[in-house]
Assembly symmetry: C2
Homo-oligomer: 198 residues x 2
């Protein structure tokens, strides 16, 4: 196979912007590669050269959004904070929930694609979603080490429980499909997390 042609950073950015615009305007149903290509003023093949696959495009869209979102900086600052108080985990959860609505459309598409597409499966362990679980694991381990976790609560299990509870899938079920407000979701998840603390 010949080496794929190079695609300029400007063209990549134009594609990513167009993709986000299209999803924002038209929703998830109509964001085909061809439509994204048209909106970006490039050929369909250019998208494949730029991002390798649809999963690659969706992943790059998440990263593109990362680069433009102050929430990500906040998440990262909290993740490396040396604090050990319980409020830290609550702040981390809040920061995530501020960001989630923004990336939700693309994150949930990628999550769905991961069921049958190995590339998407790999991308789903992308540093953002994977980083989220690590963040919670770190907090819960630290809370356990400082005696702030409820007796009988395993920190690794607790981290997984909260992670699953704030995953885009859960947001989809309760907010997108059942009509909860973001605030309801936040309170419900914060309450669940509080119940794990001593």
């Amino acid at each position: 196979m010949k080496k794929p042609p190079p695609i300029s950073e400007a063209t990549k950015a134009a594609i990513l912007d167009a993709a986000w615009r299209l999803i924002a305007q038209d929703g998830l149903d109509n964001a085909s590669q061809a439509r994204i290509a048209e909106a970006a003023g490039v050929s369909r093949q250019t998208i494949f050269y730029a991002f390798g696959s649809r999963a690659g495009l969706l992943t790059a869209m998440l990263q593109h959004m990362d680069a433009q979102s102050p929430e990500v900086g906040r998440l990262q600052a909290l993740a490396v904070s040396p604090r050990t108080d319980a409020a830290l985990a609550a702040e981390y959860l809040d920061a995530w929930l501020d960001y989630l609505p923004r990336i939700y459309p693309v994150a949930i598409l990628l999550n769905a694609a991961a069921l049958t597409d190995g590339d998407a499966r790999a991308a789903i362990d992308d540093r953002l979603v994977g980083a989220l679980l690590s963040g919670f694991t770190r907090f819960f381990t630290r809370l356990a080490d400082t005696g702030r976790l409820r007796a009988g609560v395993d920190p690794a299990q607790a981290a997984l429980e909260i992670w699953a509870a704030v995953h885009p899938s859960a947001w989809r079920l309760l907010v997108v499909e059942r009509g909860w407000t973001a605030e309801q979701f936040r309170q419900s998840r914060q309450t669940a997390m509080q119940a794990m603390l001593a």
Copy 2:
């Protein structure tokens, strides 16, 4: 459009059995309509005539599994039981968790398809998954009426929380992808539900 040709119940059953076999043998990645048709010994178009769409096929697969599973009878018996004790909800949850691994492959495909496919979206409110939420709602309402719900816990909200926590999406995150055992999942969800009781 001409009226679609009739497809016999025997052919429909053969398709459904073949589809389940194929998914059991080969997993989610290789259950294309063409492969299912081949395995059932029918043409690809016959599947469309029988079930309308892929979402229709997936939905019919769930219903087909319903008809063959003792767990469904158990769920239905519990759903109409006049008991008001807390153990009833726990039994209902257990019955669901006994059934979930069996339908998981198809339920999760249908759930993913629902993101972008209106037919799948409609089918997702299929009586089995929709019935699950109604079941929990009923139990929690009854528990509240008899003073068995923890103070400050809204029965409708609690039902949604548990429903989301036992949805195939959650099973996917924790059991399929993170390697929890079914027992771990069960205990985690039962503990969460217990925490809502007085």
